[in-house]
Amino acid sequence: MMNSLFVQTIIAYLLIFAVPLVLPFAFLKLVGLSGLRTLVTYEAKDTPLHNLDPRLKVLYPIAMGILSILFTWKAMLVVFGLTILPWFWLRPSRAKIRVLIVMIIGPAIAGFWGQGMYYLPPPPIHFLYKFPWTMAWLGSPGITTYGMVFGLEQTARVLVTVSTSMLILISTDVGDFTWAFERFRAPPHVGFALTAALRFLPEMIARTHLVLRAVELRGYDMSRPRWYQFQRWPEYAKRLSRCVVLVTVPLLIGTLRGTTTMAMVADARGFGTTKRRGSLRVHKTTAVDIWGYAILVALVASALVLNHLGIGARYYG
């Protein structure tokens, strides 16, 4: 009995903590700071997707987001599939594909796992694995298929927006975003904030990477223990948290210096002097754009109608 309880407890711990421990590790190993930098870096190409009307591109993630909210799980899968298709059109670099896959699969596993433990169906509950009483302090009675499916569904909904936003992010010059926002009557500062963030995010990531390397070069031990060296992990966690404090000073000083220069440059280039800016771009609406708009409108309208008719619609109750 004791043995059985002991073994059950060990299995339960493994099931609960395996994913939260493995995911950050997999993220650091497979993506890391350089991967993140790759992910948010615009790829200048001459694909049809790059040449689409920027307004259409801004509307695309919003429309697909609406669809993901309205539909049921099965219909959602179709929507998710639809958002994957344009990626084939874009043909991103290998480095980007690798990072994207990790960034999609990671949250999917996290959602699936978390909800599997904590989202409970109405009784009677069928557990895939029921935790022993020793795990009661964690507040989860066990893992259910129902919860896992719900987790996947929720993750897929989020991923629809993530996938569409990422697609647009790496295929659109920020200047085009700014143009689109201005055409939507948003204040120029919104476009500028977005421009600055997207332009300097990769720089910030690169700089953080550099400063972290500098800490190591100065003799700060950032070496990760092997997974089985349990006694060294708490010390490692302590060193990591101390490192955050250490790197903050040079990062902050560098960033403040940078923003001062950037502000002077923006001033000198006349930013904010007129309510409505001019534009280098002349975006003539092409047949492809018209088709794009038509498809988006048709998709959203169909979703609303189907939802109204109760076909494929989510159940709220």
Binding site: S93, R94, A95, T195, R218, Y220, M264, G270, T273, L280
Partner: protein, 599 residues
């Protein structure tokens, strides 16, 4: 500055400025004028007020940089300090030192269009300005390129194009060459000269690298302690070296040579290699130089025959067939190289030639896709930076990024928290404090030190860990001549004291690379030349092929002698003494003024 003021002239009239809270004024009674189409070089030691002057000339003082301003800066009839920044920017545009911080947009053309778009100009006007500015800066072919993919020179040219799109009448550039290799620097300077000559734009270049800028300038302004010390045309500016020596600012090599060999260059002072070579062609100097070269060739052959160097042991650092790839592109391509104990090796090459990648591998930064890197015969494990940093100390270009503590003393002790103190340190913490000049400043914050002081502190902190090799990545970038000489002296002292092996990555061909015992040229990720500086810098053709410009002295010798200059002299004093020794009647003349001018 003399002469009547013209309509399109930028003028600083008795300008003084003190930053908020500063005890001393950064600018003191500065009078300066810039005429249309004129290229003005402003130089001076670090902290002399050059960058502050740039901000004042652009009207960013006091509206964006606060402090007490006296006097005024005018363009035509308008006082710039009374205008809004974007209004002033249409008279005087500023290109800041770091192009990374002033390129706000993602592509080249978006960046250039940003200013005109902000002014709400009609689309055809914006397009015309973008076209014109891209063409004049030579960036038209890269209009759609993402900013992150550009080289340092391309970023700088994009920043210039973006500033020009505001149609300023005067362009002020704060250290535009600091991150550029010599070839990239010449491209930017040629662009600026073209702007001045064809477009009538006044150009103010604030720069330490006077050797490179001097031939392009119409006027030279020397600043010291917030004042204008000298303001003259270049040939007259260096007629008397005394103020330059007093201000601690570099003098172009050709000028120093002309002072060291009086009369050799005729009436005027040469500023460029071309001018000097033109003046020396078919003179006794050329003949004497040929005799020196022949003598050196004989000595070198004899020395090579008798003293083939046999290393005492295995190399301290070795790259065996090393290749590194980024996104499918080879940054380092099958490099085999060894550095012996006690050597001082300089790695040179154009921007993007793989220098920093190659040196980073010595501490485990980056992973080769082929080959092995070894320290003391043992493979360097990629990613194990902490492990290898104890053996190989890498000083990054941005030394500020390597300081993490609250006091100088704590900074020096930083590494010992995680690693045992070396049993037999060549330099312990107490000695380092004395040696690097931090005595009495142990409890000061590193951020209270000057930029040079912070760099010394980062170097000291690395050296107390008793590494076997010191790797320096562009350590003299943005430093004035005095600081550069000081740093070289410091490295000499460190070597004399510790016997440490030094590997430097540098664009500073004239100073740092010429000081090294061996120079390795990298081109497109491969070793193209490897040997003593005197021989590597004689290979002008090969250097040019890989985007590197030899030091002016070396170029003068190869221009005059061609293939005969297989082993060049890199020190003005040495060259002058050698040439004067072969001057007709030299034996009778006896003394020479070659040593009259220190570098």
């Amino acid at each position: 500055m003399s002469g009547a003021r013209t309509a399109g002239e930028l003028h600083a009239e008795d300008v003084s400025f003190a930053y908020v809270g500063a005890a001393r004024a950064a600018l003191r009674h500065v009078d300066l004028g810039v005429s249309p189409g004129e290229v003005v070089l402003v130089t001076g030691a670090s902290g002399c007020g050059k960058s502050t002057l740039a901000l004042a000339l652009c009207g960013l003082i006091p509206s964006r940089v606060h402090g007490e301003l006296r006097g005024r800066v005018t363009f035509g009839g308008a006082t710039l300090s009374g205008l809004k920044p974007h209004e002033a920017a249409q008279f005087v545009g500023m290109v800041f030192q770091n192009p990374n911080l002033q390129l706000i947009n993602q592509t080249v053309q978006s960046e250039v269009a940003f200013g005109p778009e902000n002014l709400a100009l009609p689309q055809p006007e914006i397009a015309a300005r973008v076209e014109e500015c891209l063409a004049v800066t030579g960036m038209a072919g890269m209009r759609k390129a993402a900013v992150v993919t550009l080289s340092g020179g391309q970023k700088q040219r994009t920043a210039i194009a973006a500033t020009l799109a505001m149609r300023p009448r005067v362009l002020v550039l704060d250290e535009p060459l600091s991150d550029l290799d010599p070839v990239g620097a010449q491209e930017v300077l040629a662009t600026l000269r073209r702007l001045a000559r064809r477009g009538g734009t006044g150009v103010v270049i604030i720069e330490h690298r006077v050797d490179e800028v001097a031939p392009w300038a119409d006027r030279v302004v020397l600043m010291d302690d917030g004042r204008v010390l000298l303001d003259q045309p270049p040939h007259a500016a260096w007629a008397d070296p005394a103020p330059w020596l007093a201000a601690g600012v570099g003098i172009p090599d050709m000028v120093r040579l002309a002072h060291a060999v009086p009369g050799a260059f005729g009436a005027g002072l040469p500023l460029s290699v071309e001018e000097a070579a033109g003046a020396l062609k078919d003179t006794w100097f050329e003949a004497a130089l040929a005799a020196v070269a022949a003598g050196r060739a004989r000595t070198t052959v004899a020395a090579q025959a008798t003293a083939r160097r046999v290393p005492a042991g295995p190399p301290v650092l070795a790259w065996d067939g090393v290749s590194v790839e980024f996104d499918g592109k080879r940054a380092v391509d099958d490099v085999t190289l060894a550095v012996d104990e006690g050597e001082w090796v300089a790695l040179i090459g154009a921007n993007g030639s793989g220098k920093s990648t190659l040196t980073g591998l010595t501490v485990g930064l980056g992973k080769p896709c082929a080959g092995v890197v070894r320290f003391g015969g043992q493979p360097v494990r990629p990613g194990k930076v902490f492990e290898h940093a104890a053996q190989v100390a890498l000083l990054l270009q941005a030394a500020d990024d390597m300081l993490f503590e609250t006091t100088v003393l704590k900074e020096l002790e930083f590494g010992f928290r995680f690693r045992a103190r070396p049993k037999d340190p060549v330099l312990d913490v107490a000695e380092a404090i004395e040696f690097f000049g931090f005595a009495g400043r142990e409890d000061d914050s590193p951020w209270e030190l000057s930029q040079g002081g912070r760099q010394r502190l980062a170097l000291a902190a690395l050296l107390v860990g008793a590494p076997g090799v010191l790797v320096l990545d562009e350590p003299t970038t943005g430093q004035d001549a005095d600081h550069m000489r000081g740093f070289l002296r410091l490295l000499d002292q460190v070597r004399a004291r510790t016997g440490i092996t030094i590997l430097t990555v540098t664009h500073d061909i004239r100073g740092l690379a010429s000081h090294a015992s061996r120079v390795v040229l990298l081109g497109e990720g491969q070793v193209r030349l490897d040997g003593p500086a005197s021989r590597v810098f004689a290979a002008a053709g090969e250097l040019a092929r890989w985007g590197v410009l030899a030091p002016p002295l070396a170029r003068l010798q190869t221009t005059l002698l061609g293939q005969a200059a297989a082993d060049v002299l890199l020190d003005v004093g040495e060259l002058a003494a050698a040439v004067l020794a072969h001057r007709p009647g030299a034996a009778r003349a006896g003394s020479s003024p070659a040593g009259a001018l220190r570098p």
